[in-house]
């Protein structure tokens, strides 16, 4: 599966990149995160971390499709 992955805030700091193209045998954002963790050990799956696919918030077990853009959001802190 070919995916675009985007990193924000502390995840950008942990990976050193804003986004990347990934070819990975994963079916869900949860699996994708584990897959990326192998490459970037600095990533951490905080309890309050969230994920969006194609600009919609989704559960970590949301089924991914080829070409999806996956956004990993670390815990937010607005206001």
């Amino acid at each position: 599966m070919q995916l675009t992955v985007r990193y924000f805030a502390i995840y950008r700091d942990a990976t050193g990149i804003d986004q990347e193209q990934v070819e990975a045998p994963v079916a869900t954002p949860a699996e994708l995160f584990e897959n990326r963790l192998a490459t970037y050990p600095g990533l951490e799956r905080f309890e309050a971390a969230r994920v969006a696919v194609n600009d919609e918030m989704v559960p970590w077990e949301h089924p991914l499709k080829d070409g999806d853009q996956v956004l990993f959001f670390p815990p937010v802190a607005g206001g």
Binding site: I10, E44, A48, L71, P74, P75, V76, A77, G78, G79
Partner: protein, 146 residues
């Protein structure tokens, strides 16, 4: 009428209130979040907000719509800062106008409460000891090195 914006310019609450003003409305309640000089016992010297615009807009619109539905208010709006801020700077403004002030208080509170937990906005603090960190993202490993 209700609006949400992300701003790299300093927020101007008086002007924002004017945008909400309506000759039929008597009660205006606002919340302003100012940058504090401390957090969890550490001195803070400045901070920076990162915002993911597309989803921040979508989510903020949903929050404002919910507030208009749940409370008897005439209008609600919010603006969030993006980028670097100094101590005392204005991080977020929320305003609500209503015929009856109780509804304006409730709506304003609802909007700021939801903004803080639902919008994809991240806060990086710079501490007086030279360190820095993303709020709510303290690593459990760092927190408990043993």
């Amino acid at each position: 009428m209700s609006f949400f914006r992300v701003s790299r310019e300093p927020l101007a609450p008086a002007k924002l209130a004017q945008e909400l003003a309506h000759p039929a409305c008597g009660g205006y309640v606002s919340f302003e979040g100012w940058v504090r000089n401390h957090q969890d016992g550490r001195g803070v010297t400045r901070l920076a907000y990162e915002v993911y615009h597309p989803l921040a807009m979508t989510e903020a619109d949903a929050v404002l719509r919910e507030a208009l539905e749940r409370f008897d208010v005439v209008d609600v709006a919010a603006v969030h800062a993006e980028g670097p801020l100094e101590i005392g700077g204005l991080a977020v403004w929320v305003g609500a106008v209503a015929h009856h002030r109780a509804e304006a208080f409730d709506a304003c509170r609802y909007v700021i409460d939801e903004i803080k937990v639902r919008l994809p906005i991240w806060k990086k603090e710079f501490y007086s000891d030279g360190d820095s960190g993303w709020v709510n993202c303290e690593s459990s490993a760092e927190r408990d090195p043993a």
